[in-house]
Subunit: 372 residues, 2 copies
DNA sequence: ATGAAAGCGCTAACAA
DNA sequence: TTGTTAGCGCTTTCAT
């Protein structure tokens, strides 16, 4: 039986409202009284019931985090950073997994709406209009997607994809392929747009393969197509697909980077641990998680004034949109093309395998506001 | 302004208690009325406020999941499985990360207690007595640890470690090392106990190195010690450390498995993707997550009878303890020892790298009750 | 089958 | 500075 505010009031000989103030507005209570109340509360192990408090204040001190696939190694660092940041601000986090299913996404927002002060929508697959509509039910911050009028945290994968393509171009590759991501993914569209443009302006040919599930299996399954297309270099939607592709190519006896160069996106931990180590576009996922929480909580004064059911919700937060920088990290899965269109094995392809881990590749996390 | 029960009552011309019944006890309401109420609710987008409901029923329909480190690839599959299972049963999940800190663990349980119907404690680092004490504040299910009198979900790492050591013994290794895990880890103690016993009964020498942080870095940092100890085979607390160790050894020019054999524990996705592919003890993490949720919710009738503040909480759940099976998965990081005490490179060390993925290694997830 | 009324734990005017 | 009172959204006796 957890102690209630009444137990504490009784024990310390004051009215419950005094106990309430002791916790939510300490400066309004006599220091001596406060000490006594605090002592009794401590004694009884009393903790304010947040749900009861929320009922009247309108602030739950909870947030929701809706994730496309928790088991995808791209997300855990983001979840970790978001949870950590939220807890620093005394918020708890509901985490929910949609399995990349747009319908589950919507249902989850509805279900969570009443229990949270806001929801972080991470890599949503639903339509823009639906997202806008849901944002009228509960404050939303969108991660990995741009939605007009809503606060968004994006990573500049467009710039990253361009850098990746240009790197491949520099290495002499002229016949490229792009492994695109899931249908409905903003990130995938950005990558595609940027990659196509970069290839064109570089006078190279780029074949788009997809859409595909953003998994290792998704990548492995494309090995045959990549082989038959006769491309010498591939950019994948993410590291998982890139690694899957490398495995798949390996099964055909095609070596990376000697025969084909492969670039991933994300720089998940895994990408430093496979052989060859993956050349990839690092995305600042932890920073994205932190930033999204900050944006959500920024204007969360809560205080839905008692009884005031304003028809005009003019408490619209300033809908900043933040674009986080990405950075190309060159490792061992890319090498110069040979005249016949294949990669050439050489120094770049086989760096000293005995050199220690090295200083690592820093990830730029500087955010620049691109809209407001 | 979300619609409340009163709005629905007004719209459908009934009393709020009828609306309430429509949702929580539909059979008690006239079918025609029910249809009308439901229609109005739908129209208004009404959803019962779970927090308000919890205030009176005592059931929040939330659970807490406390994780040692979300970014450790061991946990995401467990989180995913737990969240999925919880949602199937109409529960939402708070996820919190302790960063392996026992103090954070305790604070988190307190903070979450009022908002959840129970907490899953995953790989807790705090003391048994504290866990028992906390379990009087909120129902607990302990994962990856055995605590007398409490429901626990364990994975049989003891048996796994024994199988791993025996595998190494079979390969002819006689000078072994164990990389132990974090201080306070039940899993680490079990592994150690079992590995020491297995080595002894096999007449082999086993050096225990640790405790260590359960990370890649933790493993890499031990390469020098492993080298100087002149062991020919190593069992690591987990795959991350094993992979880190392999990297670290590589920096010294020591090859795995030719010079040293390495076995991990967990079978995280990563372990199939590194070179060499890691020999490891597969632990059924998804099954553990599902099972833990089931155990927590099994007897969750909730209904803390109104006003009845029973001093004797005799609603103690049956405290079953479940031990999930593990399985040794032999891949490419182990090879026969040579007479001089090093591994010999050979067929086992270098299997056909071009053979496709293969059927994969199934993970036994059959749970056997070992106590009640 | 439905309504009336009390109350879960708490906060926030308002009074004193 | 403290107490009084009303009530957040909901469920649950108890009547009717």
């Amino acid at each position: 039986m957890p102690a209630t505010i009444r137990d504490v009031a009784r024990a310390s000989g004051v009215h419950i409202s005094t106990v309430s103030r002791t916790f939510s507005a300490p400066h309004l209570v006599n220091p001596e009284t406060r000490v006594r109340v605090l002592a009794c509360a401590e004694e009884l192990g009393y903790r304010p019931n947040r749900a009861a408090r929320a009922l009247i204040t309108g602030r739950t001190h909870n947030i929701g985090l809706i994730i496309a696939d928790i088991a995808n190694p791209f997300f855990p660092p983001l979840i970790k950073a978001a949870e950590s940041q939220a807890r620093h601000r005394d918020y708890h986090v509901f985490v929910a997994d949609t399995n990349e299913d747009p319908v589950a996404e919507e249902e989850l927002v509805h279900a969570l709406a009443k229990q949270v002060d806001g929801v972080l929508l991470c890599s949503p697959r639903m339509s823009n209009s639906l997202i806008e509509q849901l944002s009228r039910e509960v404050p939303l911050v969108v991660i990995n997607r741009q939605v007009a009028g809503l606060p968004c945290v994006m990573m500049d994968v467009g710039q990253g994809a361009r850098a990746a393509i240009e790197h491949l171009l520099d290495l002499g590759h002229r016949k490229l392929a792009l492994l695109s991501g899931p249908r409905g993914s903003w990130t995938s569209r950005e990558i595609r747009r940027s990659a196509v443009a970069a290839a064109r302006s570089g006078g190279a040919e780029l074949t788009v393969l997809g859409p595909n599930p953003p998994t290792e299996t998704g990548g492995a399954g494309l090995a045959d197509q990549v082989r038959r297309n006769g491309v010498s270099a591939v950019l994948a939607y993410n590291d998982l697909m890139a690694i899957g592709l490398i495995e798949g190519l390996d099964a055909y006896g095609i070596r990376v980077p000697q025969d084909v160069s492969v670039v991933g996106i994300d720089d998940i931990t895994l990408s430093r641990l496979t052989r060859p180590k993956l050349t990839t576009v690092a995305t600042p996922t932890s920073a994205a998680g932190r930033t999204a929480v900050d944006m959500l909580l920024q204007h969360d004064t809560g205080v839905r004034a008692r009884g005031v059911r304003s028809g005009t919700s003019d408490d619209r937060r300033t809908t900043a949109q933040v674009m986080l920088q990405t950075e190309l990290v060159i490792r061992d899965s890319t090498a110069p093309a040979t005249p016949d269109g294949r990669s050439r094995s050489g120094a770049v392809a086989d760096p000293d395998p005995h050199c220690p881990a090295g200083p690592g590749h820093p990830v730029a996390a500087t955010g620049g506001v691109v809209a407001s």
